[in-house]
Structures are given as C-alpha cells and as structure tokens.
Point group: none
Chain length 196, copies 4
DNA sequence: TATGAATGAGAATTCATTCAT
DNA sequence: TATGAATGAATTCTCATTCAT
C-alpha cells in the first residue's frame, strides 16, 4: 500500500507470475527478473519465498477489504448495506481476476501461514460482528454464523469465477451483481419469508 | 477402482500426503514410502508425477459421480431428484474430507491437465443436460446454466467445507443436508416463487 | 573402513580437497567431481556437508587409533609401551600429513559436532585409563591427568608438524621418533628423577 | 593499537565473533553490526574480509610479543629469561582465551596470507636468534632449532588450552606457569643433564 | 568518511526420473 | 514387474562487495 518501490515491483511481479504459473512453478529468480531487480533484492524484502506469499495474500485481502471502507460510505438499511457489500466485493473480484484467483489458490493450497490467517480474521472481525448482529436482530436467517459466512463466501466465489471465466464486461458484471445480490439476499433472509 | 494392489496403494498414499502437505511439497519418494513400495515402482504405474495427479483427480471425481449412480436409483419429481443429488454429494464430501479438499486444491492450482478436465466434463455431461432441461421446463431459475452450476457448486463447497471444519457427525451432516438442500432449492426455484 | 565404494571415494576426495583448500573453501560439487560421482550422490551418503566432516574426522581418528591396536601387540614395561605408542602415532601422523593436518584444522575450527567428540573420547577411554593407572603406580609425573594428556598431545603435534614441514624421510622420522620419545619420557617421568 | 575508533571497534567485534563462530561462519555484516557501524564501513578500513583477518592476526601476534617487551625488562641468566618468557606468554594466552584460540584457528586454517606470516617471522626473529644462540652456548638441547621451537610452541599451546578449558583463576595459572616452565626447562636442557 | 540498499556470483541441497540388476 | 542407488538440472538463499547519497 505504501511500500518501497522495489518491494512494490516485486509484489506486482509475483502476482503476475503466481497467477500465470502457480506458486510452486514460479522461481524467485523469475520474480526478481520480472520486477527488474537483482535476485538478491527479493530477499532484502522477503526473508523467504513463503514470507513473500504471506505478505502477498495479506495485501490482496486488505485491498478487497479497502473496497468496503472507501467512499461513499456504506449506509442505509441492513438490506441495502448487505447488497452493497456484496456488489462491491463482486465487482472488485471480477475486475481483479489475477488477484482473486491467486487468493483462492493460496488459500486452498495451504500456503499461507497461520499467523497471517489470524491477522486477516482480525481485520474482518467487524464484518463478522455486523453479520452476527443482523442475525440477532432477525434480519438474516438464523443458522450458524460460520455456515452463513461460508455460504456467502461460496456464493461470491462462484459468481466471480463465473464472471472471470466468461470475461464479462464491466456493464455485464454490474447486471450480474444486481441479480446475484438479489438472489443472495432472498436466500439468506429469515425463514419466515420462505414459501411454505 | 480395480487397480493392481501396488497402484492402489500408491493412489491412497498420494491422497493422504497431498491432502496433508500439498502437491508440491510431497515428494514421489515419500509417496512410495508411505505406500510401502520402492521409489522406482511409482514410475512403473505413473510415467510422471503429473500423470499421478491426473489419475488421482479423475479417480476422485468418478468416485463422487458414482455416488449418484449407485442404488437406490435417483427417482421421483425433479425437485426430489435435485435434493437427493445435493444430499448425496454433500454427504460424500463431508465423509471424505481428504479427497474433497484435495479435489479443490488440484482444481485451483491448475495442476490437472486439460485432457482430464475434458474427460470429466464428459462424465458429467448427463447431469449438465439434466439441469438445462430442468431450466427449459421451468423447474429452475432461468439464469445462464453455467452460472447456475457455479452457484450450485459454490454452495456445496461452502457447506461441505463448513462441515469438515466443524467436524460434524454423520447425523449432524444429515441434518445440515436437509436444511441446505431446502435452502438451495428455494434459492434456485424459478423467479415466480420469489417474493415480489 | 568398510564403506561402499562411492562413499569411500567421497571421503578420500574430501580429505584431498579439504587438506588442500580448507573446509569452507571446498564445495560439495568439487568433492563429488574429484570422487567421480554426481553432485547428488554425496548427499546420498552424507545428509549435509557437516555430516561429511563428522564422519571424516571420526574415520581419521579411528585410523590413528587402529595403529595402536594392530600387530605386533603393545607389550613390555610401562615405559616400553609408552614409547611405542608415542612412536606409532608419530610415525602415522608423519606418514599421513594430509589426514593429520586436516584433523588439526577440523578440531581448531570447531567444525566437528559435540556428538562426534564424545564418540571419540569413548574410543580413547582405554588409553586415558592406562595413563591414569600409570600415574597412580608412580610411573608418570603426578600432575593432573588432563594436563598430562594435553602435554603429550601438544608434543606429538609439534613434532609431527615439524616432520611434515621438513618433509622428513621415513628413516629420518624413525630417528626423530626415538629421540622424541626419549625426551618425552624423561620429561614426564615422576619428579623424583628430576635434577635438583 | 592506535586505530581510529571505528576500526578498533571492528577488530574487537571480529575477535568476538570469529572466536565464537569461526571465521567462515561469521559474516562481514554481523561484524559491522556488532561493532555498531554500517556494513559498508568495514570496507573503508579493510578492503576485503581477508585483509581484516590478516590485520587481526598480526595485531594479536604483536600483542603477545608486546608482553615480552614491556616492563620489567627481561633480564638475568639464560634460564631465568627463558622461564620468564614462557611464563609471560602462558599468562597472556590464559588471560586472553578468545585471542589465543583465534590465533590457533587462523593459523591452522591457512587463512592468513603469506605476507603476514613473513612479517610475523620478522617480528619474532630476535627471539629465534636468541634461542639459537642459547643452543650454541650449550644452554639448550642441541636438536634442530626449528624442532625445538615447535616443541616449545606445542608445549605452550597444550598448557594454555588446558588452562582455558579448565577455566583456571589467575592464581592457579601462576602456579601452573611455575611448574610448567620448570618442566619445560628441564626437558630442553642439554642432554648431559639427562639420566643415563 | 559513513551509510545501507542493491547486487549477482556462488553454494548447499532437493528431487523427479532413470536404469542396471 | 520391482528395486533403490545414482543422476544432475534446478532452486532457494547467502553474503562479500559496491556505490550513490
């Protein structure tokens, strides 16, 4: 976010190459080359290749989070805010396919250290609490919060991956976002609203 | 499924180790050792490490598919069949966490060859057609079939991962399956059922 | 002593190169090359470069020890045995300059692991006990056994280094050995023998 | 001896670290850090790491030599001077274990350049001549001067190492020095004194 | 002089794969 | 088929040294 230029270049090169070839097929030498620095320079900023991963993952996760904190502020009814969050994340993921897919890859591959997972959990704690509150106030279906989050996450991932795969334009993404948030909301509304 | 015993042992050892340490961190030597065979023997059955992956992925995918083909046959209304499919897959994934997580890992990591992806697509074609037919007959929401499938997939993944993470008992899994299939069905029913 | 041929070749190559260039200036690649095996082969026998050192040091120390155990058996008066031990070690070191100097280098450089030092101490324990007994029986000067051993060791080292540096012939070494063992014996005899 | 403060700090840091970890395991960066200066600063004073070694070795050797040149002046009979030299060196080594052991390490490891060895030989030439003269005048045993020096050296080393290892107090060192110089003198006196 | 980020040649070690038995 | 020692290309990481400031 405010890295020294060479560090920034390394992170960007890593995103590019990891997304293209996968983490383990990408050598530190090629990252350095892509970033236009010497091989040793990488290790000035990241003591090991795994530290690079960790920082990369954290950086991307925080970039996604930043989407929710930027102007205009999230406001309005619970439903409105919920849909807006969904929309912003969906748009961010669709617009940043490399970062998004890399995030999935790193998570699935167990490459990210526990420490980083905890840091991120911490970052997103506010959101978690907001969802929980929504449930307590009867705005959201009452199944286990973790399951609820898993489902939201799974839904977002599925739709974003679909958008990326089909290479949708910004306008199309916006349309999908509207439909998708509508569906998700209906789907996660409290049971009372469900048809008998 | 009907492999020579050493081949079978190798596949099982690979599942164990890939799931634990990840594909790239697992050496062919360690797989052979875990399987109780010599290092060279692995290459008698799988010309390269990547061929092992391919076969493993295919085997697992077909094992999941077999769940849908086993007795009792799927039958009844479209809704009943849809829910049963969902339930069987969810139970299979929850009962086979290693295989399930490995499947995700291999898919995200771009490790599986194109050829295998095509083979699998072929295997599942029947299901794809069945979903499409359901849409045409107005049994399912009418958004793009691929998106629909992505969402189903994402939902299943989310719930299974949740089950695995929380280590649910078979009974609990059955309960979650009921709720989950109910929700998913409601969610993917044609728009007409949606609240105005 | 009874190593697989490639392991033996590696140990010999290592002696050659370590003695010539020093431990840290010698690369594992060059050792493998000198031994006529592939770079990886070294690591089949020695997990790390340090393990190679350890084994090398142990092997050399035991080779020296073997000099004392070979035929003809050590026998006769305490004095005769003492001188014979001194002579055999002195001859061995003078005849094996590379091994001898390497031994010194490894010991001084703190390269050998504690475990190996303990193993060696164990190997030589019998000798230690024999010296101690000699002291108790009044055959040797009564200062601290450890100091006594240090002095013997220091003397041997000094004379061997001198022989090596001056490149003495076998015959000359034999002469020096006689003088040297005479001096050392006189020097370490009990105080009573000393001039007032 | 009269170095700029940063240079002095670097030399001291180097002694500390070389003695602890060995020359090759110690990085120039760590020396600089220990000395509290920037990495680049080391190279202002020592063009290469090897130059640092050379200067260090020379400095230590001269420090030992200085022990013999300080007040009170060496005087009295040949025997008295011989014993006093021995005692001073023994005390210096025992009191400066890091420097002493480092000296041994550097010598054995072939780390010091030829140029420096020659310089030092020059420094100690006077002592060499004095010993030789002693031999000619029948004060010392008549075997080759070089061998004689080796033996003296070996003896000193053995005893100092023993003192260091057993962590003797200053008083104990003084006692050992007396015994040790007595022994050494007896040992190196001309043959006539030896028992028949 | 002093700094410390940057360099890049070099080194230890790994591991998929081969092949003689 | 099965074995496992041997191979050697490839990779991560180190560190003495440089140089712009």
């Amino acid at each position: 976010m405010n890295h020294p230029p060479k560090k920034q270049a390394l992170l960007e090169a890593a995103i590019e190459l990891f997304a293209k070839d996968g983490f383990w097929q990408t050598t530190t030498a090629s990252i350095a080359q892509e970033a236009g620095v010497a091989t040793g320079t990488l290790f000035t900023y990241f003591p090991t290749k795994n530290d690079l991963i960790d920082e990369l993952y954290l950086t991307i996760k925080r970039e996604a989070l930043a989407e929710l904190q930027r102007e205009p502020k999230l406001q309005g009814s619970f439903e409105a805010v919920f849909k807006e969050i969904h929309t912003r994340l969906l748009k961010w993921g669709s617009a940043n396919p490399k970062k998004f897919l890399l995030m999935l890859q790193l998570r699935q591959g167990n490459q990210v250290s526990q420490r980083i997972h905890e840091t991120i959990e911490d970052d997103w704690k506010e959101g978690y609490e907001w969802i929980k509150l929504g449930q307590q106030e009867g705005k959201l279906a009452s199944f286990p919060t973790n399951l609820l989050l898993s489902i939201i996450h799974g839904h977002l991932e599925a739709v974003i991956q679909h958008n990326i795969q089909h290479n949708l334009s910004e306008k199309e993404v916006a349309e999908v976002a509207t439909i998708s948030s509508e569906i998700l909301w209906r789907y996660l509304s409290p049971q009372s609203k469900s048809p008998q």
